[in-house]
């Protein structure tokens, strides 16, 4: 059932060239009682054709990062410093109209719970056409739009007749595929997928992830996966970043991070994730709760829960430094973090 997308631009990708660079981004929300430090000094790079993951729990800031990239933040959000460079161009200083032109054409997003955001009183095809009209007004006529939509649906494994159906006639997985089709409508260079499979059953989730992977490879698209599920991130990403309380605490190639996490949070997260494969490991819980971002802890934000914390961690915030080629960690004591395999088998 899967058809490769012809005529939708298949790019030549150069995996060494950066597509999106987030450079020391700081974004905060203004609330009545102060400021919520949602994204604090986050730096990472997505190369052409690469799948990057942002992992973290609720409130860690990963969705805020995604919304910042597309500037879809609520009115009380403020960019305090940093740059978001798309193909070298900083997006933050751009005006609203210019940003709007880039939205969806250069970067598209599959939102969390997007499969439930279909308007139930319009056919799915009409809703996708609305997107096309917004971006391709005058460029594509009605017939060309139809052809494009059929190709999009074929590209995500949906029969073209479903364009004429209403959202309630789709299953959850099919709705999610339709959302992905809509995201692909303008052939973006980057798709941000925010918890793309969270509400779906395991088998459907598997199918969707395979679909996204195929799209990444065939269309030379970059994908930013945002998820709390490290197993999903492990499956589909080439590199990943671990976020905690608004900070990026570890970054590196996926297999390396999983084989040997350096940051205590990443280490503990892996140690507390059950798996159906391998020996039945001894899991250990993480004590405490994620912090309040209005008054984050002093020094390293993870220190109240960290078994490796020292005096320095309480007072000084560790910077994100490159400790191995391609591996960055924000921790003073990363060398104290033991090897994962031994710890798991104890």
């Amino acid at each position: 059932m899967t058809v490769s997308l012809e005529n939708l631009e298949t790019r030549q990708v150069d995996p060494t060239k950066p597509l999106l660079e987030v450079d020391r981004l700081i974004m905060r929300y203004q609330v009545k009682t102060g400021e919520v430090s949602a994204v604090e000094d986050v730096t990472f790079t997505i190369h052409q054709g690469e799948a990057v993951g942002l992992v973290g729990e609720s409130g860690c800031g990963k969705t805020s990062v995604a919304l910042s990239l597309l500037r879809l933040l609520p009115s009380n959000a403020r960019f305090l410093s940093g740059e978001i460079r798309l193909n070298g161009e900083d997006l933050i200083p751009l005006g609203a109209e210019e940003m709007r032109r880039r939205r969806w054409k250069d970067i598209a997003m599959v939102f969390q719970g997007a499969m439930n955001s279909w308007n139930p009183v319009y056919r799915v095809g009409e809703q996708i056409r609305e997107t096309l009209n917004t971006h391709y007004k005058g460029v594509l006529d009605y017939g060309e739009q139809n052809a494009l939509m059929e190709r999009l649906f074929a590209g995500v494994g949906l029969p073209p007749e479903m364009l004429e159906r209403y959202p309630h006639e789709f299953s959850g997985g099919m709705r999610q595929r339709a959302v992905i089709a809509m995201a692909l409508a303008c052939s973006p260079e980057l798709i941000i997928a925010d918890e793309p499979t969270t509400a779906l059953d395991v088998i459907v989730q598997d199918q969707i992830l395979k679909e996204l992977k195929r799209i990444q490879q065939e269309m030379g698209m970059s994908i930013l996966y945002i998820s709390h599920d490290i197993a999903v991130i492990a499956e589909v990403t080439d590199s990943l970043g671990v976020m905690y309380a608004g900070k990026l605490v570890e970054y590196g190639p996926t297999d390396e991070v999983f084989a040997r996490p350096f940051h205590p949070y990443a280490y503990l997260l892996l140690k507390s994730t059950p798996s159906i494969t391998g020996p039945r490991r001894q899991l250990s819980p993480l004590e405490g709760e994620p912090p309040n971002l209005e008054k984050p802890p002093t020094g390293c934000r993870f220190h109240p829960r960290c078994p490796f914390a020292t005096e320095q961690c309480v007072t000084q915030e560790p910077p994100l430094v490159e400790v191995r080629p391609g591996r960055r960690v924000a921790c003073w004591n990363y060398e104290d973090v033991p090897e994962l395999e031994e710890a798991l088998l104890k």
Binding site: D229, A231, A234, L268, L269, S272, I276, P285
Partner: protein, 342 residues
């Protein structure tokens, strides 16, 4: 139909479910008889020994939640038996009503999925945890306070007096779920149905809740029916697993055995689809067609026929296969072709 049988010869299981069935009519208007039924739970049987934890695993629509709700009498079955061991006697609680249900509720309790919505936001933690006590007329107010304090301490909410008169919105998700566990255990039940208790919690908190449940189960001698869609979690919480599909149990057996040697094609597809937090792990893909639908007036043959990559003549010509333990290792699968599939 062969029933998966007692774990120890001579010991009766705590809960023995036989041919449990729940059918929902699809209404055709106010005055017409329903002709179509959704077979949410279509004749399942299993048992749970005292102190054992059985996982009920499946995707949405398979009937696991409905089964759980029937076991706590939130819903009445349309057929079958639920034999509950009390004072050495097995009693069929499938169709009890009225005052008998109240007594029954001292023994069988439930932990719900949503840590926030499962507590009345206008009632204090004390009210919530002591509700079983006050509704059953157990103890004086002071005695109930003491019991609740005892339980809050047990579930790790310390100091317990700090939490007694708080409201749910003042607690975090993990704390609320601890309260839910306290409420389930306050009457010293022998059996608890846990319906996805950790799926709405943060990943780092899940383990502590799971550990709490396991520890308390051991200390208090409680059996669990653990309902989940997450096989990885089931591995950690359950001694045995039952895999459900469209209202039927398709496989049941010891956890590690099922994970290592899945017999039913659906179980294999399920296992191959679960993402693994290890990028170096290469899953063996099992191609499976289509998606889940509801079992509406199902035809008698195997429920999995439409999607099964191994469907053969024998499957089309016979009714839905019974659960069988071909190798005598307490590992049952409902498939005619179990020996031929690799």
């Amino acid at each position: 139909m062969t029933t998966p049988v007692e774990t120890q010869v001579g010991t009766k299981p705590l809960i023995e479910v036989k041919n449990l069935e729940k059918r929902f009519p699809i209404s055709r208007g106010m005055f017409r008889q329903a002709t179509e039924f959704v077979h949410a739970v279509d004749g399942i049987s299993f048992d749970i020994a005292p102190g054992e934890s059985l996982g009920l695993v499946g995707e949405s629509g398979c009937g696991k939640s409905t089964t759980g709700r029937m076991l706590v009498k939130l819903m009445n079955p349309t057929g079958g038996h639920i034999l509950f061991l009390e004072d050495g006697e097995q009693k069929d609680v499938a169709h009890v009503g009225g005052s008998e249900i109240k007594a029954f509720r001292r023994r069988i309790q439930m932990i719900f999925q949503d840590p926030y919505e499962s507590m009345n936001p206008r009632r204090t933690i004390f009210d919530t945890v002591s509700e079983p006590l006050s509704v059953q007329g157990v103890g004086t107010v002071v005695e109930r306070e003491e019991r609740v304090l005892e339980l809050l301490q047990l579930v790790g909410l310390t100091p317990p007096e700090n939490f007694l008169f708080r409201f749910p919105h003042e607690l975090s998700g993990g704390q609320r779920q601890r309260v839910a566990i306290a409420r389930a255990l306050v009457m010293n039940p022998t059996f608890v149905v846990a319906d996805e208790p950790t799926s709405m919690l943060d990943v780092s908190i899940r383990i502590s809740i799971m550990e709490l449940m396991t520890t308390l189960a051991r200390e208090m001698g409680v059996s669990y029916l653990y309902i989940t869609h997450d096989l990885a979690v089931a591995r950690y919480m359950c001694d045995r697993i039952a895999v459900m599909y469209l209202g039927k149990i398709v496989e049941i057996g010891p956890t590690e055995e099922i994970l290592a040697n899945p017999k039913h094609p659906y179980t294999r597809a399920l296992l191959s689809a679960v993402p693994v937090p290890d990028p170096s792990y290469k899953r063996t893909p099992v191609e499976i067609k289509g998606g889940i639908s509801k079992a509406i007036n199902p035809t008698p043959e195997c429920r999995f026929i439409q999607r099964c990559p191994f469907a053969a003549e024998v499957c089309f010509e016979n009714p839905h296969p019974p659960l069988e333990d071909r190798q005598g290792d307490n590992h049952f699968a409902a498939c005619y072709r179990v020996d031929e599939i690799g």
